[in-house]
Symmetry: C2
Subunit: 287 residues, 2 copies
């Protein structure tokens, strides 16, 4: 029997799992993300997790391995599969290691991820997506990864969620964007407009439509969300593409309806199952 | 001899001119923009301007005619030339009037301007641009106007400057964008990247290039500015297009170099001369 503890240690939140033979037998979730933990506190945090979930080997993934985390772990350059990730673990001690993130570079363009690689590659390892696929992890920084023969060969991060949050909190549109984002007509109108890929102008039109009284501000947030998500998707897929989405239900449903509207097909993947499969495979490979 | 006072009354700043026979004979500029003046204070403000510049008829243009100004003046729908604008003045009393803004609507898309119409149409009236032309007024909300036979037939506002300001002040890129924007290599690299019209991803790449140490953060603001300006221009012009720019020297030079890089030709127009010509023509038409 193989038992270990996996921690998905993000910027804001942290989720820890006790995994036995590939199955989660205990879990905890809290807000002790890397942004809330000082460098000197990680050892005590890890001791605390072991006290609660068991004195077991431990793999830590995510922002814990960044310059705002415990220590900065070098990125593994793509193409990379789980074996490359497992081969580059940063060992803190003989039963604690940090999973490295991935980097991508193509001329001027560059990209990085930390933590998402476990879910993305885990989805492939678990057979939840085929070995050649396009995966999308929506969020503040939406990750799009192209997998070939089970390895991530390139990826793109779009700060779609962050742009929405900035516009909602600050600037000329903020007064109009306070309502909840809902799927439906206004969202899909935004998707169509977003596919024109002219964000700076399409965003100002939200203000103009409000000023002219030709759109109800109650729908402005949904339209703006559709606009940003539509622009993101339109830059990433051709008609007929299949996109494997790893997301919570609400955001996943928005991305799926936008992908559908732009001529693609969306498939929902269980992101927790993908994480558990990925981290278990890394643990097996590193053992 | 015709003498009058023209006020270009924006959100933040205000500029007043005493104009005689189409020439500026006195001017003043201050920060008593519409955002700083309460509704009940406009009468006293106008009395103050007359005390300094002369007891003359007065035309007020810009945000003074908005819901944050003296009173909200209905927009004139395009196509519209100076005669349509002059015919829709909002008369406060027999020697004081507010110039209306313009609105544009095309299906879902809508746009508005207040104040820029005087410069844009004035540039045509003064013969500074041909009667069929594409005009660009860069800024927080960059205005692009298509003029046919001397009238604005459609226009687009891109919140290019506002997006840059938001990203510089807040969010994940803010730490990288503190340097001055300079023309040159990094700006032009940004323009090229911006022409791909994939803002949300191109912006995140600024962070990735910083994290990976493959770009100096000293150039990040110039690159980001080029990115946003490049995306704006690429959405607006085809190769070979001529753009008439009304802007201050620094921002005008950035737009001109980006237009040049994207295969267009930029011509600089004296925006104050355009304003004076436009407002004088409105005064003549309304007399």
């Amino acid at each position: 029997m193989s038992a270990f503890i996996a921690v998905d240690w993000g910027t804001t939140n942290r989720r820890a799992y006790r995994i036995e033979d590939g199955k989660v037998v205990a879990t905890e979730r809290d807000d002790r993300g890397a942004a809330s933990v000082a460098v000197g506190e990680y050892e005590a945090e890890v001791t605390g997790i072991r006290a609660r979930l068991g004195d077991l080997p431990m793999l830590l993934a995510g922002m814990v391995g960044s310059n705002i985390g415990w220590r900065s772990v070098p990125y593994v350059a793509v193409p990379a599969g789980l074996a490359a990730v497992a081969g580059a673990l940063d060992r803190i001690d003989d039963h604690t290691a940090i999973v490295p993130g991935l980097s991508y570079r193509d001329g001027l363009h560059a990209d990085v991820m930390r933590g998402e690689e476990v879910q993305l590659l885990g989805a492939v390892a678990a057979g939840l997506v085929p070995p050649d696929a396009l995966l999308c992890q929506p969020g503040t920084h939406c990750k799009w990864a192209t997998v070939e023969s089970g390895a991530i060969v390139r990826f793109t991060t779009a700060m779609t969620g962050e742009l929405f949050a900035l516009l909602r909190a600050h600037g000329v549109l903020s007064r109009q964007l306070g309502h909840r984002v809902e799927p439906g007509g206004a969202f899909l109108e935004g998707v169509t407009e977003g596919a024109r890929r002219d964000l700076a102008a399409s965003l100002f039109a939200i203000r103009a439509r409000g000023v002219l009284g030709i759109a109800d501000d109650a729908h402005a947030a949904s339209f703006a969300s559709g606009l940003l998500i539509g622009a993101d998707i339109a830059a990433r897929i051709e008609r007929g593409a299949t996109v494997h989405i790893l997301a919570d239900a609400a955001l996943g449903a928005l991305y799926a309806s936008a992908i559908d509207a732009l001529g693609g097909t969306a498939r929902h993947i269980d992101s927790q199952a993908a994480f558990v499969a990925g981290i278990t495979r890394i643990q097996d490979l590193a053992a």
